[in-house]
């Protein structure tokens, strides 16, 4: 036990990993989905380090996206959905940023974004789908011509072409591949050999990780090599895709992590109220992000009482009977 020799060069502190791999203007793929397995601790550290002009690419995202936008870290966004489920049907700072013209954005669908990551992972330039034919996702471009000349931005949002394999009219939508600078994912387990295991749903995390130049993985636990290799069918990514490993229990709080903890309804409800008001949102950041030096301080502030309330039943994966109002 406790032998991390194999991953010694990848194991790092949160602040070091962010400083080393995330720059102003980086294109970042956010793992997780709305209120589950968001890379929250990394998002908070990005905010603390004052990194700006991020280009976020994601499918359906929630809390991490919203705090990053609210804190002014995001310049550009390619997205399918910004929402926190029942706790904010539309993400609040996301909504304000778009309504106030404070962000460059482009809309796709979940499947389209997932396919774009897959195309990046497969190292193909584009990928076809039937999804979206007839919709305004095809008719309207969010990005201007100027933005389309920039690094890691496709020259067109998408293209429609005739299926080349038949004579009858049959149109398909071609989507440009995504190859983000960095993918951020939060997972349950990393083995001492660097193997990644995601429990519950993987969303598009695996495609996102494989499409990115750099992969930063935060995890609940680092587990023995013998454990992670006992049942390799359960594993999600081989070690060589991962560039940075940070052990961060509750690193997705206030979003949930299957088998470990539920989303925190109290925190999400508080956020919902504070995020509505610009000044109160600043107070939220001052208190929960800038006001804590690191993840440990953040957890102390949440308190053991709440951490116990959201603790998941290890068999069912969620906190049974949690008051979610």
């Amino acid at each position: 036990m406790g032998n991390n020799m194999e991953i010694a060069d990848k194991l790092m502190n949160l602040d070091d990993a962010v400083r080393r791999f995330i720059k102003n203007g980086s294109q970042i793929a956010l793992g997780g989905f709305t209120i589950v397995r968001n890379p929250m601790a990394v998002a908070y550290e990005i905010i603390r380090q004052g990194i700006k002009d991020l280009h976020i690419v994601c499918h359906s995202h929630g809390q991490a996206l919203d705090v990053l936008i609210g804190a002014g870290c995001v310049k550009r966004l390619e997205i399918a959905y910004g929402g926190n489920g029942r706790y904010a049907p539309t993400c609040i700072r996301f909504k304000k940023a778009i309504q106030q013209g404070g962000i460059e954005f482009e809309d796709y669908s979940n499947y389209q974004m997932s396919l774009r990551f897959l195309a990046g992972a497969l190292n193909i330039p584009f990928i076809p789908t039937k999804s979206g034919l007839g919709s305004d996702l095809l008719n309207l471009e969010g990005f201007s011509k100027e933005i389309r000349k920039e690094r890691k931005v496709a020259r067109k949002k998408l293209a429609v072409m005739q299926n080349p394999f038949i004579e009858d009219k049959d149109e398909v939508v071609l989507l440009p591949a995504l190859t983000p600078d960095v993918a951020l994912i939060h997972v349950q387990y990393i083995g001492e050999d660097g193997t990644v295991r995601i429990k519950g749903l993987t969303f598009a995390d695996i495609e996102q990780a494989k499409s990115a130049d750099i992969v930063i993985v935060t995890c609940e636990e680092i587990v023995p090599r013998s454990f992670i290799r006992l049942d390799p069918d359960q594993n999600s990514l081989p070690p060589f895709f991962v560039d940075a490993i940070i052990k961060l229990p509750y690193g997705a709080h206030p979003t949930g992590c299957f088998g470990f903890y539920d989303y925190d309804p109290k925190h999400l409800n508080m956020y919902k109220v504070l995020a509505e008001d610009d000044n109160k949102f600043k107070e939220y950041l001052d208190e929960w992000v800038y006001g804590v030096k690191n993840h440990e301080e953040y957890l102390n502030k949440i308190g053991s009482n709440m951490l116990l309330k959201i603790k998941a039943n290890p068999v069912l994966g969620y906190a049974v009977g949690l008051d979610r109002r």
Partner: protein, 255 residues
């Protein structure tokens, strides 16, 4: 004595009644979650509920608050990801029914979940497509939940996020979408369906206590009401299962 029930309860029950054993049901958030869970508990125990996030046939002992909720990963036959989930929605072997919600709908059942006003600088921005556009493109049929208001039932959408019957008639097929289309719209006032030929929306059922005139007043386009009949009120059993088993915390039922 007449039973009392909320709009969301009536909507969940009305939509749930569409689901048959063997259907593969795609559920979104909110009332759609309630309806899908209720359908399985009350009408179609052998229907399969699945989520775009990749959770297939969860036990749903507690109602999920989001499609990524840990509860959609619990007791499933399989946990996968988005790409796998969309391979199910559009699978040619499967009869898939999708529950969606929207901010605006037109008479052909096309949906807007993106924005109101100018797309680039909207008056109101919503969450965006998520999986809605994909599901509307691929599923065998879509049932949409709406608040029945004039500003939501519009002649022209501010943004067409998800295609229903497109411009009516056979225009959906001509786009290259081989199957699917809008099956029904379930609102707080009644249930609308679509004409077999023109694909225009008509009033199928109005709820007890709702008048046909009220539905006409709250619809922003001309709607055929000639086939309308009164819907059956929820039964005691339906409400009991919905309240005691599906949503005991009244997280969604209440509204």
């Amino acid at each position: 004595m007449a039973l009392e029930y909320s709009d969301n309860e009536m909507m969940a029950i009305s939509a749930g009644r569409f689901i048959k054993d063997g259907d593969i049901v795609f559920a979104g958030t909110g009332v759609s979650m309630l309806a899908a869970t209720a359908a399985k508990r009350i009408y179609a125990p052998r229907a399969v509920i699945f989520f775009e996030t990749g959770g297939i046939d969860p036990s749903l002992d507690e109602i999920p608050m989001a499609v990524s909720d840990l509860r959609v990963m619990s007791g499933t036959c399989l946990n996968s990801g988005l790409i796998e989930a969309f391979s199910i929605v559009g699978h040619r072997k499967l009869h898939t029914i999708a529950f969606l919600g929207a901010a605006q709908i037109d008479k052909y059942g096309n949906l807007n979940t993106t924005s109101i006003g100018d797309y680039h600088r909207p008056k109101t921005r919503f969450s965006g497509s998520g999986g809605a556009c994909d599901v509307a493109s691929f599923a065998s049929g879509v049932i949409t939940f709406m608040l029945h208001e004039k500003r939501r039932f519009v002649e022209k959408l501010d943004y067409l996020t998800s295609v229903g019957w497109y411009k009516g008639g056979d225009t959906r097929q001509k786009l290259g979408l081989a199957r699917g289309g809008a099956l029904a719209v379930v609102t707080n006032l009644g249930v609308m369906r679509f004409d077999d030929t023109t694909k225009e929306m008509y009033l199928d059922e109005y709820y007890p206590g709702v008048t046909i005139d009220k539905i006409i007043e709250n619809t922003g386009f001309n709607i055929d009401v000639s086939k309308a009949r009164q819907a059956a009120a929820p039964t005691e059993l339906e409400l009991m299962i919905l309240r005691n088993e599906v949503d005991p915390q009244r997280l969604i039922c209440k509204a």
